[in-house]
């Protein structure tokens, strides 16, 4: 019963929010939504303590005495994802207490936000492929709404393009699921895994295209810059920090490792696409001047790292990939929320019009430096460890050239982010920024909290790996082991 609150509580609160906004326009929606997010974070930490260390929980739900046939499943990978979703959502929720002042109705914004959180929780907590598809769609719908909140022409354009491309991705995924259903007769993950040799090869290609589109893997990355530029800064933080990870990386790993069975071809495809994403994202980011667009290309590049790590298929590579997933959520959300803070203070996004903000906004520029150094992989911040593990894993399987490209792209990341930092925060004070003041308390709190998290997870990375990442990696490695048994030894 306990696990179901991750899905039920945000939905119920989202349902009450329009009513609550009749009572008080500003305070009550803020309070209710953030309270709900705090409850979710507490629940995820409690789940963590209750978890026996291996294996999977499965709960049946009881409704007034009758037992409904809903089974909510939690294993090591889902645990990591739930924690990431809850904590990043809390940070963004606190940030939006002040940031959404300029965007109109708060209750509707929080309602969409909570539906997004509930749907992404649903994606990781289910053991049925088709239910996962429905939750992916629901989360996608909520994020189309969040993109279009800006009400300018840019946001409508971004939202419509995002809708069309994401709907195409969903139809690919649905085609793959339909083919699996028709050839194996079921959509339950465990049952498909036991007959996984019947799954057609076409499904693999369709899933790669569909989940790749959802996560911004090259060559499916072109929706990301447009969708992120026209949206309020909370959307890219949520989307790239939470939704891309869950609906893209988590879903793809779950399907490829536990359902279809990992093979050499899939591994090499993921590694190639990962390397190309890293390079394309980094190179295209070099010429950008608009803050959010540059960070969107940087996201494409970092997602390439995650796929590179997971695609190697070695235990160390999977640990590196999952660690980078965790750390990237933290520092990329920090960077996007930072860009949002700059936009809040100066009403513009274009870095050529900004300058000299460092003196006027000390907290913002410090957290920006921390986020930048994490993204580039500078010790002892968190990005360094995850990239190091991925590079070591690549060297371990003798892909020296790829390791070199990964390090080179890290240097490129440092370059373009530092360029922006210098232009926006140091230098002469431009006239647009005359009356920029320090940002309000809640936005500050959330930025400082994320920056501290970057520090802390960087310094104590070893316990983080052992307690949080290793169970998740074990789940994926189990999948590889069982598929090797099935294919090579011929039994199961």
């Amino acid at each position: 019963m306990f696990l179901f609150i991750f899905i039920a509580v945000p939905l119920v609160v989202a349902g009450f929010l329009p009513i609550a906004s009749r009572v008080s326009k500003k305070f009550l929606p803020d309070f209710l939504a953030n309270l709900c997010l705090v409850i979710l974070v507490a629940a995820s930490i409690t789940t963590f303590k209750l978890w026996p260390g291996a294996g999977s929980f499965s709960h049946k739900i009881f409704w007034f005495g009758d037992s409904l046939n809903i089974s909510v499943v939690l294993d090591g990978l889902s645990l990591l994802m739930i924690f990431i979703i809850s904590s990043i959502s809390l940070a963004v929720g606190l940030f939006s207490i002040d940031y959404m002042d300029k965007y109109g109705s708060r209750a509707i914004y929080y309602a969409m936000f909570l539906v997004l959180v509930a749907a992404t929780n649903g994606i990781v907590l289910t053991s049925d492929l088709f239910t996962m598809y429905i939750f992916i769609e629901a989360a996608g719908l909520a994020s189309y709404g969040l993109v279009s909140l800006g009400k300018t022409r840019d946001s409508t354009e971004g939202a419509f393009k995002y809708l069309i491309l994401s709907a195409v991705a969903s139809s690919f995924i649905l085609l793959g699921i339909a083919l699996i259903f028709l050839t194996t007769g079921t959509t339950n993950i465990k049952e498909i895994a036991s007959v996984s040799r019947l799954v057609p090869k076409l499904s693999v290609i369709l899933f790669l295209a569909g989940f790749g589109l959802k996560s911004g893997l090259v060559p499916f990355h072109f929706w990301m810059p447009d969708a992120y530029t026209g949206a309020p800064a909370v959307l890219p933080a949520l989307s790239s920090g939470v939704f891309v990870k869950v609906a893209g990386v988590y879903a793809m790993s779950r399907v490829f490792f536990n359902v279809i069975g990992f093979s050499y071809n899939i591994s090499s495809l993921l590694v190639y696409l990962g390397i190309i994403s890293i390079l394309v994202g980094a190179l295209l980011a070099l010429g950008q001047t608009r803050l959010k667009r540059l960070l969107a290309y940087s996201s494409i590049s970092q997602v390439g790292y995650i796929f590179l790590g997971i695609g190697t298929g070695t235990p160390l590579g999977i640990i590196g990939g999952l660690l980078h997933l965790f750390y990237h959520s933290i520092f990329k959300s920090l960077l996007f929320l930072n860009a949002g803070a700059v936009e809040y203070a100066t009403q513009t996004d274009e870095s050529t019009e900004l300058g000299g903000l460092g003196a006027k906004m000390p907290f913002t520029s410090t957290t920006n430096v921390i986020g930048l150094l994490s993204a580039a992989g500078v010790p002892p911040l968190n990005g360094f460890w995850s990239k190091l593990i991925i590079v070591i894993a690549l060297i371990q399987i003798k892909m020296y050239f790829y390791a070199f490209i990964a390090i080179f792209a890290s240097v490129l990341t440092l370059w373009y982010l530092l360029l922006i930092q210098r232009r926006v925060f140091f230098g002469k004070l431009k006239e647009q920024c005359e009356n920029a003041g320090e940002i309000p308390f809640w936005m500050n709190l959330s930025l400082v909290g994320l920056a501290l998290a970057c520090f802390w997870t960087g310094v104590v990375f070893a316990p983080v790996i052992l307690k949080w990442i290793l169970p998740g990696a074990n789940v994926l490695v189990e999948g590889i082991r069982s598929s090797i048994n099935t294919f090579i030894i011929g039994g199961s």
Partner: protein
């Protein structure tokens, strides 16, 4: 009988993308939905058939017609002048590839026995989580539409 109805579905869908008038295109789509619903009936899926006809050929078409009346019925957009012949050639190539290229055999080896007897039980007892997930989809849809059509803008009150 079935091949003819299938042919009708395909022809009306093809017409829906080529007619210049948006309203006529949407009506072609509606007719194609009705034929698809009839095919579902014949294949032994009456619930899916009735859902297809009443929801797609009803609700979605009403939404389309509402939008077209607000936006302009004539296709003011100047479409690229690619002739229909090009499309038919592409269709021919693709269907040759499809017929000879992909061989997927549908052998539903059901790993679970069918423990439900009728459709009601399958829907409510077998796929209950899907029903809960649909609640989240509907919530998302409602809130997003409320957000899009509200008139308060940026910096507005």
């Amino acid at each position: 009988m079935e091949p003819l109805i299938l042919l009708a579905v395909m022809i009306f869908s093809g017409l829906a993308i080529f007619l210049k008038d948006l309203l006529k295109a949407v009506i072609c789509l509606m007719i194609s939905s009705i034929f698809l619903g009839i095919i579902f009936f014949k294949l032994g899926a009456p619930y899916a058939g009735v859902f297809e006809i009443s929801v797609v050929a009803g609700l979605v078409m009403v939404l389309f017609i509402l939008t077209i009346s607000l936006v302009g019925g004539e296709d003011f957009v100047k479409e690229p002048a690619i002739p229909v012949i090009f499309f038919l050639i592409l269709l021919g190539i693709f269907s040759l590839l499809a017929v000879f290229g992909f061989k997927v055999s549908f052998i539903p080896s059901s790993a679970t026995g069918d423990k439900f007897l009728n459709f009601g039980q399958v829907l409510w007892a077998g796929r209950t989580f899907d029903m809960v997930a649909q609640i989240s989809v509907i919530f998302a849809g409602v809130f997003v539409i409320l957000a899009i059509v509200s008139r308060k803008g940026k910096n507005g009150k």
